[in-house]
Symmetry: C2
Subunit: 210 residues, 2 copies
């Protein structure tokens, strides 16, 4: 398989974690979201994804999938071990909900395209991003209080933790105050001990420019 | 089960469609998102959902689930017939991806909280909403071209269609030009022949104020 991604894209990062947890090797292709006006707007990438976003997973037969959660759900079905969601149906729903708090509740409000649009309208993108990430993470922590164990839902890593880690990285980029987010930071520290999370980190990618 | 929702909330609407397709009856409770500054900010609702959003599904044992896609995935697992996703893993991934184009790619940029924030910053919320809905639906249609049959993925209703219908309603509220969206409108017309979609429509809800 091939993964078209970008080092600092949180959605690409999620898929990299999932692949690592499953022990799956893929060929990584970088789509540079900033250089030359953004390679995601080029004709090659538009054929892969009309949304002009990464990641895109290309299967061995050439078929392609977009949207990080759709890709992760696909990988989880095809390669069930270790599972990315709890087996209990209710806890599975809770894990999905926490994942969506990040995926639809925070990330879209602070992704590159939204910020670029806000800047064109004269809005302070840093203040906007900081506000939405801070509120979203506070809510996420409240929602996780009664399911959290070593990770956001119980004692096993789930999709929710996969969504959390890149979002915390973005929180720091936006200078979000993290002092009230103890539970999330404890879980982050546990994730950081796992090889799949270490290898997937933005700064470990070949296309990272720091 | 109880569903806490609001007539015009597109996320509540999605869950109503899913319940209808599964033939499940629930007790509906309205959380008025506009009246008196918004009941979603009240202490009763904050206990249900710190995100201050609807829907919330309360199970018979009192446990609660938030986030429309998490709720629908839960219902689909507990009540498998008719399925809300294709059985083929690749097509399942495609259906999830189309669903997420609406759920994380369009809806969060035009939901009530985002629009209220934009208005406070002096941004024209109608123009903002129109732009993001229009671009998102054009992309959704392009992405659906090679999977669509009678519905967005093949000939059976899926989560993707459930996400589409309330988003098209919002498109009209924002006066989005729909003339290039033939495929989506044809699928909408097919959905509108189904009882579950008819009964779930915003205007059919007891709390609707038109």
């Amino acid at each position: 398989m091939k993964l078209y991604g970008y080092w600092r894209s949180s959605a690409s990062w999620r898929v990299r974690i999932g692949l690592g947890l499953k022990g799956l090797e893929v060929e990584h292709h970088s789509v540079h979201l900033v250089r030359d006006g953004g390679e995601q707007h080029g004709t090659d990438h538009l054929k892969r994804n009309p949304m002009r976003q990464v990641p895109v997973l290309e299967l061995d037969d050439g078929r392609q999938l977009t949207q990080s959660l759709a890709i992760l759900a696909y990988l989880d079905a095809q390669h069930p071990e270790p599972p990315l969601l709890p087996s209990d149906p209710y806890l599975r729903g809770r894990a999905w909900a926490l994942t969506e708090v990040v995926n639809s509740g925070i990330q879209p409000l602070q992704n590159l395209a939204t910020l670029q649009h806000l800047t064109r309208l004269g809005v302070d993108r840093m203040a906007w991003g900081r506000h939405h990430i801070h509120q979203g993470l506070l809510n996420l922590q409240t929602m996780a209080t009664d399911t959290a164990g070593r990770f956001l839902v119980g004692d096993d890593v789930s999709l929710a933790d996969i969504a959390l880690i890149p979002q915390l990285y973005n929180a720091r980029r936006f200078e979000v105050p993290l002092d009230a987010l103890d539970l999330l930071l404890q879980i982050e520290a546990r994730c950081e001990t796992l090889e799949a999370f270490q290898a997937a980190h933005a700064h470990q990618q070949p296309d990272a420019t720091l």
